[in-house]
């Protein structure tokens, strides 16, 4: 029973860290139409920034600085936000496909830096002993798991509320207008580049925060965690859940992470041991097939984008 609770809490906590990344991508893609295919890079920047700030002093590596976890998380969001701002300042004018190439390149570059800048990142072995929230309660695994889950729930809830407010604000409205027709938005006086850059930086900062949350939850990070596979998973989550809808982003993260997590024991049960390493590739196939199935049945994702006018409108009339 305790084990089941422990596993449930672990599963949900991991899913929630993905939900945070998804919320970040939803600002960039769902709201603004920015085709960021370098998600993993921005998550990695956040994870490493927080790890450097919070781990104890380590020989052969810059830092750690032994700061409190909160400082690490704020630092992670800032670092990834600044990185996104700089990348965005160079690339945000690009059309969708070129932005995709550019951001993919950035993510590959980040990963190569993680591997090779050993004095900063610990190289291929990564960074271990990242302090975990509520470490003092670790002797009681159920309490420890519950507190971590509660913390992540609180972060997701706070982000959700904040992003919903933005989505229904004049800012969110301008983002959607730019996504729909940039020339018309410009003719109405909206500086499209500035709004895009803001959305890209805010989305990136949220991804960085997610990277930190994930790193501290697992306690260990390494470059191989931040491969294009991560970007693919997050995209699958957002599209499955419903691009443009913050609740969809969270739901998609839980559903796709569920598919991913439960496919491992399923493969172990279905395939003979000598074939299991090969069969593991089926997990990626499963996500792809699952995504296709969802899009066939619900083309706009599980929860499509809802029509938003203004949060200051007395009440929206129900749509038939």
């Amino acid at each position: 029973m305790i084990d089941l609770f422990g596993y449930g809490a672990f599963f949900l906590s991991m899913a929630l860290t993905y939900a945070i990344i998804c919320l970040g991508l939803n600002v960039q893609w769902g709201q603004t139409g920015l085709f960021n295919v370098g998600v993993a890079g921005f998550v990695a920047i956040g994870a490493y920034a927080s790890a450097l700030l919070t781990t104890p002093d380590t020989p052969d590596r810059l830092g750690g600085f032994g700061l409190p976890i909160v400082a690490g998380w704020i630092g992670a969001a800032l670092a990834a936000g600044i990185a996104s701002f700089l990348v965005g300042a160079l690339t945000v004018r690009l059309r969708a496909d070129y932005l995709a190439i550019a951001t993919f390149g950035v993510a590959v570059m980040v990963q190569l830096c993680l591997l090779n800048l050993q004095g900063l990142t610990g190289g291929p072995f990564g960074i271990g002993f990242i302090p975990r929230p509520f470490a003092a309660t670790a002797t009681n695994p159920a309490l420890f798991a519950a507190l971590n889950l509660a913390l992540l729930l609180a972060v997701v809830a706070a982000l959700y509320l904040g992003l919903e407010r933005l989505l229904r604000s004049p800012w969110g409205r301008v983002l959607r207008a730019i996504r729909e027709d940039e020339t018309a938005a410009r003719a109405l006086g909206k500086n499209a580049d500035r709004f895009r850059l803001q959305a890209f930086a805010i989305g990136g900062a949220i991804m960085g925060l997610a990277g930190a949350a994930q790193g501290h939850f697992i306690g260990f990070i390494a470059p191989e965690n931040y491969q294009p596979m991560l970007t693919f998973q997050v995209w699958a989550m957002l599209i499955a859940g419903g691009s443009g809808n913050n609740r969809g982003a969270i739901l998609g993260a839980i559903v796709v992470w569920g598919l991913w997590a439960f496919s491992a024991p399923a493969i172990a049960a279905l395939f003979p041991p000598d074939q299991q390493a090969r069969a593991a590739a089926l997990r990626i196939v499963l996500i792809g097939v699952g995504l296709c199935a969802i899009l066939l049945i619900r083309p706009r994702g599980l929860l499509g984008e809802t029509r938003t006018v203004s949060r200051h409108l007395p009440k929206a009339k129900p749509k038939p």
Partner: protein
Amino acid sequence: MGQAIIEADGLVRTFGGARAVDGMSLALAPGEMVGLIGPNGAGKTTLFNLLAGTVRATAGTVRIAGTDVTREAPERRIARGVGRTFQIPRPFAEMTVLENVLTGAPSQSGERPLANFLRPGRVAAEERAALDRARGLLDFVTLSRLEDEPARVLSGGQRKLLELARVLMADPKAILLDEPAAGVNPTLLELVIDRIRTLNAEGRTVLLIEHNMDMVARLCSRVVVMAAGRRLAEGNPADVARDPAVIAAYLGDGA
């Protein structure tokens, strides 16, 4: 004539080898309503795009109320009091009619992400004012009952009206209207004419591209005729319509 609100001087725009606008000058006095006519391909829409900043001039200058804005980005025009509509309407298709119009609200503080958290009262007050104004404008263009529909369901004529309401949110002193009557059915056309007349009566300067000569004659006291990127003729509608050069330009040189 006092200082022109919009003044183009020697404007040239080339696309590859083609000179779409070839040395065009034009001045609009405050409160004036001017028709811009000419055969297809005369360069009317390119001239519009140059005035609106959507297209950069190859040569020449554009001034708004005396300030040189030739190199300024299109999004700065509306703050200077010049708004425009498009020949082919560009509604935000997936946004509601009301949301489309609200988007025209100029530089609200809620357009800054942080202000939504730091100054929620001010954002809300501005948004309420914008809502009132948007509803008033939707009423003005008779689209009120469609306010909750996505803009993509509107007919061509309704899209023209939506664009008009959207650009009026910023209360521009001058409006560039690119074929406001194209694709508009006869009933709606009377409404469009009436609304344009009202806008002009409110003191707004209007520059109108239009193929419907009857409409131009009813609305404008001055008509500028463009052909091959240049000014061919200018004057009151009746005189211009009789001008042999204008008739030749429309019907071809054989006429």
